[in-house]
């Protein structure tokens, strides 16, 4: 009997309203990146030039939702990924960008454009249809789609991300042991 050739799992990653720190933590697996590349293939990700997500096994999302474009990308990830992981504080509860939630958007808008420091005379509010519309509050991912796993931290360490990916690739339920769960 032939041993079945194990196909590489497809992984897509994206940053919504995040700072890319969670992606940097993914790279903080250091040399283990080369082991990972033996097992997975990257689909849409800031690390590749694939702009539209295809059918994937795992979706890795950092950042919450701050505009309509974020919501669109999140829904695309949900419908294309078997397993969707919310990575980091921003994805899980909005994180630091959600600090704007106690301010009314129209007030921020007004302040930024009428009292901002050092603006040229006549500067006005950007109003081009190419720009996504900001949501009035920053939302976490699970409020909008079902999320399968959450990795806390700002960012979670490379070791924590590695553990979750390694467990999933081995077909186990991911378990974050002592020292890998932290919230800062």
């Amino acid at each position: 009997m032939d041993t079945p050739v194990k196909r590489k799992l497809k992984v897509a990653t994206t940053s919504l309203a995040g700072c890319f720190g969670c992606h940097m933590s993914l790279l903080d697996i250091d040399e283990r990146l080369f082991d990972l590349l033996e097992l997975v293939e990257f689909d849409r990700s800031p690390l590749t030039d694939i702009k539209h997500i295809g059918t994937c096994d795992i979706g890795f999302i950092e950042g919450g939702l701050c505009n309509n474009e974020n919501v669109h990308v999140l829904r695309e990830f949900r419908s294309n990924c078997k397993v969707l992981i919310a990575v980091g504080a921003c994805a899980i509860n909005g994180g630091l960008p959600a600090q704007r939630n106690h301010l009314a958007l129209p007030i921020i808008l007004q302040e930024v454009y009428h009292t901002s420091h050092g603006l040229a005379a006549g500067s006005d509010i950007p109003n081009d249809p190419e720009l996504p519309l900001p949501l009035n509050k920053v939302h976490p991912l699970h409020e909008v789609v079902k999320i399968d796993y959450f990795i806390p931290g700002c960012p979670p360490s490379g070791d924590a991300i590695w553990k979750v990916l390694a467990d999933l690739l081995a077909g186990h339920e991911p378990q974050l042991g002592h020292g890998l769960i932290h919230y800062d």
């Binding site: 940053s15 790279l27 690390l47 505009n67 958007l105 603006l119 720009l131 900001p134 509050k137």
Partner: protein, 493 residues
């Protein structure tokens, strides 16, 4: 220095092509191109599409929180924001001079950051274009492809980045979003064991950094026609330089040059940056456009980052990087190098400089010291400035008597380069795309030009937009979480 191709005269009947999102850069951006029936390019814009509003919600927070908050602007160069805001807060707490230990630990942290960010940018993000070709197979044009074809290069990139991250971890407490730098100093020095751990690897890092300079230099000499002209445009430049005109990425005064290399201003204390720089807002991007007030909006824009710094300074204090700087300057025989791809060369010289600086600092016993924090007379306003991996970074705060921030203004590196990046993509569109059938490979040429600047697009989002649109956010069960309507006047309800 023209603005042509910024706005088409008759956009109505043009075909739109978008690069969305721009990939292998940090942050959220897209490019739109408008073409006529003959595929002639009529308009090209690099849009920054995200708003986060840091400058606003920082207000009302206690000043000591700010250095750890603002670094969440950017996960690639959090140390830069941490340090720029710490430097501003040093003035708030009256620490005009840091203790030697604090200053050296901060410098060590910063050069660790320069090393890791430059390594990431060159090896993980840009080397695929340079090694495989701008229109090579999209499936291989990434770090995975590099790891398969040039495993040694990829491995060095990963290990250089790792080393920089370890320097940050030992100085800041954590690789990303650490807490080491605080108003008035630092909260930790190095232990002997930590220092020895870093010392064990630093010589290898210096050597690999030097090899990286040689690699990019080799690429220039093999294809000078491409490297010297791709996306090239003439521009002013700006950076901070040290007291003696030397390259210093942690502290100094502002110096600017015109496109011929003549000094426009020098020795400007960055506390007075607002006398020098003003910002313009354009309707089609959330990123502002800074310019030198004295020259005005049309002529006053400038370029920052490695290409500016290497040509703006008079010397580099470390021997290997200084040798490379001289070669770089000699290459363009007395005139300024304006080609975007030369950013990579300049960037690798800076990576070598960072590695040499780390080596020197690791040999300095001050980094093992115990005097960590200085204080003095409280002030109510401070500006911090630093050369981040991508260029000059300015943080400006006012703090009231209750220790709460009342004003925050940030001009981040990528914002300084806004006009310059737009000029570069327009040049590329003009020479490579216009009149041709647009292919994926051609579109990647546009991204190659953007990547040369190493933009940090997520740092650069302070503003808010308006357009007639309604957004309804539904939860996973389909019920409405919130709705937001914006009229064409920009009113939100």
């Amino acid at each position: 220095m023209s603005n042509s191709l910024e706005t088409a005269s008759h956009p109505e009947n043009l075909r739109r092509v978008a690069i969305d999102p721009v990939s292998r850069v940090e942050g959220h951006g897209k490019v739109t191109i408008l073409l006529d029936a003959q595929n002639k390019v009529q308009q090209v814009r690099l849009h920054i599409v995200e708003f986060r509003g840091f400058e606003k919600f920082i207000q009302g927070r206690p000043y000591w929180e700010v250095p750890v908050m603002v670094q969440r602007l950017c996960g690639i160069c959090p140390v830069s924001h941490n340090l720029a805001s710490s430097k501003a807060m040093d003035l708030i707490v009256g620490a005009k001079h840091l203790t030697p230990t604090a200053e050296k630990i901060r410098r060590l942290m910063h050069y660790g950051q320069i090393l890791q960010s430059h390594a990431l940018h060159f090896f993980h993000l840009c080397s695929p274009d340079l090694l495989f070709g701008f229109d090579s197979d999209i499936a291989k044009r990434n770090i995975v492809g590099v790891a398969a074809k040039y495993p040694d290069t990829a491995r060095r990139g990963v290990l250089l980045r790792k080393f920089g991250q370890e320097v940050i971890r030992h100085t800041a407490g954590k690789r990303i979003h650490g807490t080491g730098s605080i108003p008035g100093g630092v909260n930790k020095a190095l232990t002997l064991a930590e220092r020895d751990e870093l010392l064990a690897d630093i010589y290898q890092m210096v050597e690999w950094s030097r090899d990286a300079v040689h690699l990019i230099k080799e690429m220039h000499s093999q294809n000078p026609a491409l490297y010297n002209s791709f996306g090239a445009f003439r521009a002013n430049l700006m950076s901070i330089v040290g007291n003696n005109g030397e390259l210093d990425l942690y502290h100094g005064a502002l110096r600017g040059r015109d496109a011929n290399g003549a000094v426009l201003f020098d020795g400007v204390d960055y506390q007075n940056y607002s006398g020098l720089i003003e910002e313009e807002v354009k309707p089609w991007t959330y990123m502002k456009f800074p310019y030198l007030k004295a020259l005005g909006q049309d002529l006053g824009w400038y370029r920052v980052g490695p290409l500016s710094r290497i040509q703006n300074c008079d010397s580099i204090a470390t021997p290997l990087a200084e040798m490379e700087r001289r070669e770089f300057v000699a290459y363009s025989a007395g005139s300024l190098m304006h080609a975007p791809l030369a950013y990579h060369w300049a960037r690798m010289i800076e990576m070598l400089f960072a590695a040499e600086m780390i080596k020197d600092l690791l040999h300095d016993d001050a980094i093992l010291g115990h005097e960590l924090v200085a204080t003095g007379e409280r002030a109510l306003e401070g500006v911090g400035c630093i050369e981040a991996p991508r260029g000059t970074l300015i943080h400006h705060y006012r703090v009231d008597e209750n220790d709460l921030v009342t004003m925050c203004n940030l001009i981040v590196s990528t914002t300084h380069n806004n006009q310059a990046m737009n000029e570069a993509v327009r040049q590329v569109a003009r020479y490579y795309l216009s009149g041709h059938e647009i292919t994926e490979g051609l579109l990647n040429h546009i991204e190659v030009a953007i990547r040369a600047f190493d933009p940090c697009l997520s740092c650069a989002t302070h503003a808010l937009g308006k357009m007639p649109l309604q957004v309804e956010l539904l939860d996973s069960e389909g019920s409405t979480l919130s709705t937001l309507t914006r009229s064409s006047e920009g009113d939100l309800s």
